[in-house]
Amino acid sequence: MNLRNVIGRRSSWSLPYAVFLLLFVALPLVLIMVYAFIDEGGRFTLGNLARFFGDADALSTFAVSIEIAIENTAICLLLGYPVAWILANKRYNRSGVTIIIFILPMWINALMRTLATADLFNMLGITLGKGTLLFGMVYDYLPFMIYPIYNVLRRMDPSYAEAAQDLGAKPSRVFANVTLPLSLPGIVSGVMMVFMPTVSTFAISEFLTNNKIKLFGTIIQENINSSMWNYGAALSFIMLIIIGISTLFGGRGEEESQVQGGLI
């Protein structure tokens, strides 16, 4: 097989990227696992993982992160679903451009937005704490909830809802039995795009609470930055497991909505 033939076959054009993925995606994840299970001398140990379960500080940060992430995801869903529904509904909005105005803040530097939010609270005399953290998080992640739900709703065939209506279902029933179940893939991918990033946020939570509340991402960052790579890797490994579990539950929904079109 000579080189010319290899280049001529289009299926081989993904080879450079395959090598790139192995080196920059697969190998780094393997390294997290390796570093999580060795000590500083390079010997195998379960000590890093054991340390997490004995570390009251890390455990409580972990619990707080999960709690904030659940609350944030729930609020984003409650606020974002109606926005997505209204924008996708031809009666209220015919233009495909309006959605851009809603996802636009996503493109502005997140740190800068967060700092401005914190300053806005300071100016209004509101003490920084859990309330402001949740507000800031909702503010940061709402577009990520609106967009995938909007995408699914907009592509939905309206004849299903119309059929239910013709058969005598009340609007509330049409929504609960037809629209909502059909939009589930969008909800799943919205939840995925909000939940995990919230757990692993760092920097943002400190700015919004004046260092009062730390999220899990901060603990990982602190350990990596103070050269405790093995413990930092063990904490990342725990995150990876949670990501793995949550993709098992919601992976399909995400793939669908992403393959159908990009973000803009």
């Binding site: 700092l115 939010t117 995990m196 803009i264």
Partner: protein, 270 residues
């Protein structure tokens, strides 16, 4: 009535989303060093920004902006090339190879930034690569390319693949057929992928933070982070952010309005 409530709700959410941005924009027109203090209208911060006559640390703000732009440009260009070639390869691969590449391709999109950052940090430590410009650009290519692949693949599905074969039959080399027949049809997807990559790279903080090493490389995000930790943001950041916001707003609107018009035209022709 229903329409009124729907409108009111949308406006309420928009106010929520835009309040901090408007806050930044308004306070970019006053000289006060503290965000939120109004000390009278002034465009001094703007002229400071453009003349580069900023006091102390602010001078390095422009270096940070420059670094951010270079990194975003190089990373998104490479990601667009790599991702387009990969999408073509994936499209013509057998399902096993296709699934394997797509599986790995999805990982950077599912992983939170911190994990991507830490894992790449460990990689560079493991390989003994000095961290700086090169490691940051490689890291940005890693999280950008998946989005290029996902935006080019649908265009391949829409393309009539006989045109490429026809070009080959008529004597074009694969490179010519790629450039003259395939690329023009994939261009919209490539462009979306490029813009997406560019803006994601501009906005990135976590991955840059972990892969920039200790050589003192600052991008806009890490600059803001360091600045805020020291207490008090450089006031010139306010006009800078306002300008960036307006540029992105206008670009996105133009891009999307054009896309919608093109889609409508297509629908009419059918």
């Amino acid at each position: 009535m229903k329409k009124f409530f729907a409108r009111a709700y949308l406006i309420l959410i928009l106010l929520l989303l835009y309040a901090p941005l408007i806050f930044i924009a308004v306070s970019s027109f006053t000289e006060s060093r503290v965000l939120g203090n109004w000390t009278g209208f002034s465009t001094k911060l703007y002229s400071n920004l453009f003349s580069g006559s900023m006091q102390g640390a602010a001078g390095s703000l422009m270096t940070a902006v420059y670094n951010t732009l270079i990194i975003a440009l190089v990373a998104s260009l490479v990601a667009t090339l790599l991702g387009t070639l990969a999408a073509i390869g994936i499209f013509y691969s057998r399902s096993r190879a296709k699934n394997a590449v797509m599986f790995l391709n999805n990982i950077p999109m599912v992983n939170p930034d911190v994990i991507t950052g830490v894992s790449l940090f460990l990689l560079f430590v493991f390989l003994g690569v000095t961290q700086g410009y090169v490691s940051v650009i490689l890291a940005h290519i890693t999280f950008c390319t998946p989005y290029v692949v996902l935006n080019v693949l649908p265009k391949l599905h829409q393309m009539n693949s006989n045109t490429y074969e026809a070009a080959l039959d008529l004597g074009a080399t694969p490179a010519q057929a790629l450039r003259k027949v395939m690329v023009p049809q994939l261009l919209p997807g490539m462009l979306t992928g490029f813009i997406l990559s560019f803006t994601m790279s501009l906005d990135d903080f976590a991955v840059t933070f972990f892969t920039r090493g200790t050589v003192g490389l600052e991008t806009l995000s890490t600059y803001i982070y360091t600045d805020a930790r020291k207490g008090g943001l450089t006031p010139e950041l306010r006009p800078l952010m306002t300008i960036i916001f307006i540029v992105i707003f206008v670009l996105l609107l133009i891009f999307n309005i054009r896309q919608e018009r093109a889609a409508k035209k297509k629908a009419l022709l059918k």
